[in-house]
């Protein structure tokens, strides 16, 4: 032990005193740094920590009516350099980045040495690559390379509804479709925001989360149903392949509301890589092309004539196969003469001569007035860019030949959407609805900003007129030129159309070029769907009833099933419909039209009022077979009386106890 007063103890006391003194001094120094210089140092620390960054908020999402994503924006990282901050040899940095960025060393080096504080190296790169670059930055302590978040548009369904959606160019500019219409609303904003970053410019603390989509923009719900759209796209592709048509368009609308459920055009493009397609294919043909509607326009003429009392369904027309107006000869499509025929059958068979007579009866003024009431000659105001307004005649300048051609849907120009909207008005008890495609715009907080409600434009014709016409149009499908459009189990109404294609260079028509179309709606007791199918310049068969009607059938058959629309209870379930014949005519008992069945064909006899046994005997005699339903006496038959049918065709006959 050391003595209490030893030298060592004295030294130790000194040592301890010095330690204590230093401790107090250090505490004093820390207090000085923290309390006297604290604010200054804190401000300095903040300023080196903080970084003002321009943050692009992602563009709003576009959904279909069921909430499925049609267009989404993902934040992608874009790499840029601040050449002034580069702290290492640019050649070396360029070599490090080359394998990741897949850019030539010289190009990277040139940008790194460009001077200034901002130069893009590569925009919107994958997260995986960005991570690799980040690793290089960290491992090699490179300064002056930064990332910026940019919005990148992505269409998950590729070309589905491409024309409706449109696409987005660089710098988040909508260039087509809804992206253009709603560009202002859904465009991502450029926020200048202060964020905390680490020494390499990576966000830290809460700033890490400030990149998430918390203040995302408005999102849009379209009236499009992507399932229906898919059905339409598929069917259109098949039809295009089968008919080798140049272009094609299908629109499906809810006639009661004006909602567009599907809209597809060909040629198509993939908006994810729109730049790989010809600009021509970006065009939304449903709203931005004009065509002469042909016979489908007869629905409008018929509606006008019925409304004005110019004609009744039973009224008889005399058809000589052609008609001459102001020196212009207009023929029937079949080039056949039908003789004395009722208006009902005129519509069924789409007889041009009778419609010319009807048009002349209506007159230019009324015809034009109704065309305008049905929305022609004016844009429908759908929320899509590039909509055309169509071309109608000037009433005062209309010659009789103009009236005549307009009555059969030629020499006027309409957009596909206009035509479908007009026909939908008939389906909707005569009320014209404004077609729309934007169902709802929802704010970032999930509250809806605007909800589009169905907008009636006007009552074009009365409900009674509409009902009369619906019945007539129903017959087109069940008995007339639109048989191929039959949707099994449902009553649909429609009208075929085969129009000559107007020349784009002069006033005439293009030889051998036709536009085949079919417009229809249903179920007729409660129309929920209206569709227009247009096939432009098909090769081979070009009749709307032959090539467009089957597409209608194909689409609607799937859509009614998808929408769970209940089948009509008194529908004809026709397993073996009569094969279409070149000429399907009806003959009323009192008409004297001679029916000339071809080889292997028979005229369907009337079995009304017969028993099953009697009906069976009669049909067998004609070479037809019977499928009885129910018991008692025959009340209805699946193929109308006096129709020409192939031998061996099965005819369903409904028997009821009277």
């Amino acid at each position: 032990m050391l003595g209490k007063k030893s030298r060592v103890r004295r030294h130790i006391a000194w040592f301890m005193s010095i330690v204590m003194f230093l401790a107090v001094a250090m505490i004093g120094r820390i207090a000085w740094i923290q309390f006297v210089n604290g604010d200054k140092l804190l401000a300095k620390a903040r300023s080196q920590l903080g970084d003002y960054k321009e943050i692009q908020t992602p563009r709003g999402t576009i959904y279909d009516r069921t909430g499925r994503e049609l267009a989404v924006s993902l934040m992608a990282k874009s790499l840029y350099a601040s050449p002034d901050e580069i702290n290492q040899d640019p050649q070396w940095i360029a070599k490090l980045l080359e394998p990741v960025l897949k850019m030539p060393v010289a190009a990277i080096k040139a940008r790194l040495m460009a001077g200034g504080s901002f130069v893009w190296l590569r925009r919107t790169i994958d997260a995986e690559l960005a991570e690799k670059v980040q690793k290089i930055i960290q491992e090699n302590k490179v300064k002056g390379l930064h990332f910026l978040e940019e919005s990148k548009r992505y269409y998950p369904n590729d070309d589905l509804a491409a024309h409706v959606l449109g696409f987005v160019g660089t710098d988040d500019v909508g260039l087509n479709g809804i992206e253009t219409t709603l560009d202002r609303q859904i465009k991502g904003r450029l926020d200048r925001r202060r964020i905390d970053t680490d020494s390499y410019g990576m966000p830290i603390f809460e700033s890490v989360f400030s990149f998430t989509q918390k203040n995302q923009n408005k999102s849009v719900y379209l009236t499009i149903d992507s399932t229906i759209q898919f059905i339409v796209e598929e069917s259109l592709d098949q039809a295009m392949a089968a008919t080798k048509a140049q272009t094609g368009t299908i629109i499906i609308m809810n006639p009661k509301t004006g909602e567009i459920l599907a809209m597809a055009c060909r040629p198509n493009y993939n908006p994810n890589e729109f730049y790989n397609y010809k600009p021509q294919s970006w065009k939304n043909r449903a709203v931005s092309i004009l065509y002469e509607p042909g016979s489908t326009f007869k629905t409008v003429i018929a509606a006008a004539a019925l409304q004005e009392g110019v004609v009744t369904p039973e009224e008889k027309f005399i058809d000589r196969g052609y008609v001459e107006v102001s020196g212009r000869k207009i023929q029937n499509w079949s080039r056949e003469s039908y003789g004395r025929i009722s208006f009902e059958d005129v519509i069924k068979q789409s007889i041009n001569t009778s419609f010319v007579q009807l048009g002349l009866k209506l007159g230019a003024e009324r015809m034009n007035r109704y065309a305008k009431l049905f929305g022609f000659g004016k844009t429908t105001d759908i929320e899509l860019p590039g909509e055309e307004s169509g071309i109608l005649f000037d009433t005062e300048k209309m010659r009789d030949s103009d009236v005549a051609t307009m009555a059969i849907g030629q020499s006027i120009a309409v957009t596909p959407l206009q035509l479908l909207t007009a026909v939908s008005a008939i389906a909707n008890d005569g009320v014209l609805m404004r077609p729309y495609i934007i169902k709802e715009i929802v704010n970032a907080d999930g509250k809806s900003e605007t909800v589009t409600s169905p907008q009636p434009v006007r009552q074009v014709v009365t409900k009674e007129t509409a009902q009369k016409l619906i019945h007539l149009l129903e017959n087109v499908i069940t008995q007339g030129g639109g048989k191929k459009a039959i949707v099994d189990g449902y009553h649909f109404a429609g009208k075929t159309g085969t129009a000559q294609k107007a020349s784009s260079t002069d006033a005439g028509y293009q030889a051998g070029k036709y536009i085949a179309s079919f417009v229809g709606f249903g179920p007729t007791d409660n129309p929920q769907l209206a569709a227009l199918i247009i096939l432009d310049s098909p090769q081979g068969i070009y009749y709307g009833g032959q090539i467009a009607a089957p597409v209608f059938r194909q689409v609607m058959t799937q859509v009614v099933r998808y929408l769970n629309i209940p089948p009509n209870s008194n529908s004809w379930n026709v397993p073996n419909r009569p094969k279409p014949v070149a000429k399907t005519e009806t003959k009323k008992a009192e008409t004297k039209i001679i029916i000339k069945p071809g080889k292997g064909q028979v005229v369907v006899p009337d079995v009304k009022g017969l028993t099953i046994r009697e009906a069976s005997a009669l049909l067998t005699k004609h070479g037809l077979s019977l499928i009885p339903k129910g018991s008692g006496l025959a009340v209805r038959q699946s193929i109308p009386v006096n129709t020409i049918a192939e031998q061996g065709t099965e005819i369903i006959v409904v028997f009821e106890q009277l």
Binding site: A23, G38, L42, T197, S199
Partner: protein
């Protein structure tokens, strides 16, 4: 101070308590200061914490082992200690592991830094030599073998190169001579040579000169030599009274270099504020007082010298590190005991604590026959036993 002792029966228990609190603060701070680096570099935010906890475990075993046998039997084995540490330091120079341009580590089973052990060896050898001299009331001179050994070891450590540790090794040795008492003439000569050496070294290597310039005015060199000091000051300054809170300091995000090792205290000041810094310094003061108490109560002068040497080892490094962090002395690689990350350093410091406990145990076991009076509490307990 004396009131505190009521809660434990001996200085060694108090010492263990102080060390325990420091270890706890160290673990918290090391995790907070290193998770960013560990997460980015190794994809395991807990990497450094795990390694630190492992070193803690080894260190505590070492501490217990160091407290067990009679310290006098350890420190008298001069040749064994000397030969062992020289062999290790030579080995480092030849088969050591390179990192950051220096060769300080060696892998024998586990990776460790023999230079840290050298500190301990120098203290033990010096204590043994000086204790014997004091016991025999002989005159002490700097011209003796322990200082020569310290210089040799310091030279070997310098070769790694590790200037900071070399200075600590030689400095500790000289400090122990000073406390043991050397002639005034030698002190003056030493001061003269010391100043000469410092001046020489300051200008010998240009980077040291720059370091000194940066030390004198860090703000003028904040992008180069003064960067560490400036970042350290920013870290401390942005702490305030209560700090930014655990994990919320920004300096560790690659602003402050060596955030979990040499500059761990800056991160602590930032996240725990003035209160945390004060607590750490007070704990080191307590450690100093307790260490000195144990040294004084040691049964022999060698024990006293060993105790004071070990106390100086820990407290001296603490002062050196904190002074560096607060920008008072130039940046040197001296870690803050128990707070900075560094496995070998932690283990050596815990062994040092173990040796202090060892000395304390000997003094207690001698307390009945010797002049040392039992503390109040022990007396109280003894009374109750009777």
């Amino acid at each position: 101070m004396r009131n505190i002792f009521k809660y434990w029966t001996s200085p060694s228990e108090a010492l263990l308590f102080v060390v325990f609190v420091l270890l706890l603060l160290g673990c918290i701070n090391i995790f907070s200061a290193s998770f960013v680096l560990a997460g980015h570099l190794l994809n395991d935010s807990y990497y450094f914490l795990k390694r630190h906890l492992f070193a803690c475990g080894v260190g505590i075993v070492g501490m217990v082992l160091a407290a067990w046998p009679d310290y006098r039997k350890i420190i008298c084995r001069h040749w064994l200690l000397f030969a062992g540490i020289v062999a290790l330091l030579m080995a480092v120079l030849h088969i050591g592991i390179d990192a950051n341009g220096a060769r300080r580590w060696i892998r024998i089973g586990i990776k460790f830094q023999p230079s840290e052990l050298a500190k301990l060896v120098v203290i033990m050898l010096s204590a043994s030599y000086l204790g014997t001299k004091l016991e025999r009331h002989r005159k002490i001179s700097l011209k003796s073998w322990p200082l020569a050994v310290a210089i040799v070891l310091g030279f070997l450590v310098m070769r790694q190169p590790d200037m900071g540790t070399a200075v600590v090794i030689v400095g500790l040795c000289i400090l122990m001579y000073l406390l043991a008492g050397i002639p005034q003439r030698e002190i003056l000569t030493m001061l003269f040579f010391g100043i000469m050496t410092i001046t020489f070294f300051s200008f010998a290597a240009p980077y040291r000169a720059e370091r000194i310039h940066a030390w004198l005015d860090p703000w003028a060199y904040q992008q180069t030599g003064g960067y560490q000091t400036v970042q350290s000051l920013l870290a401390i300054g942005s702490g305030g009274l209560f700090g930014t809170g655990f994990g919320m300091g920004a300096s560790k995000f690659y602003y402050l270099p060596e955030a979990h090792t040499d500059f761990a205290f800056a991160v602590l000041c930032q996240e725990m504020g003035f209160v945390g810094a004060l607590l750490v310094i007070v704990l080191f003061c307590g450690l100093c007082v307790l260490g000195i108490r144990i040294a004084i109560q040691a049964p022999d002068p060698a024990g006293t010298m060993l105790g004071i040497g070990l106390t100086a080892l820990i407290v001296g490094q603490a002062i050196g590190n904190i002074a560096m962090v607060i920008g008072v002395i130039p940046v040197t690689g001296v870690p803050l005991p128990f707070i900075s990350y560094g496995g070998t350093s932690l283990i050596v410091n815990l062994i040092a604590i173990g040796l202090l406990v060892n000395i304390s145990r000997k003094s207690l076991s001698n307390s009945n026959e010797d002049t040392v009076k039992p503390t109040k509490t022990v007396r109280h307990r003894l009374q109750r036993v009777k």
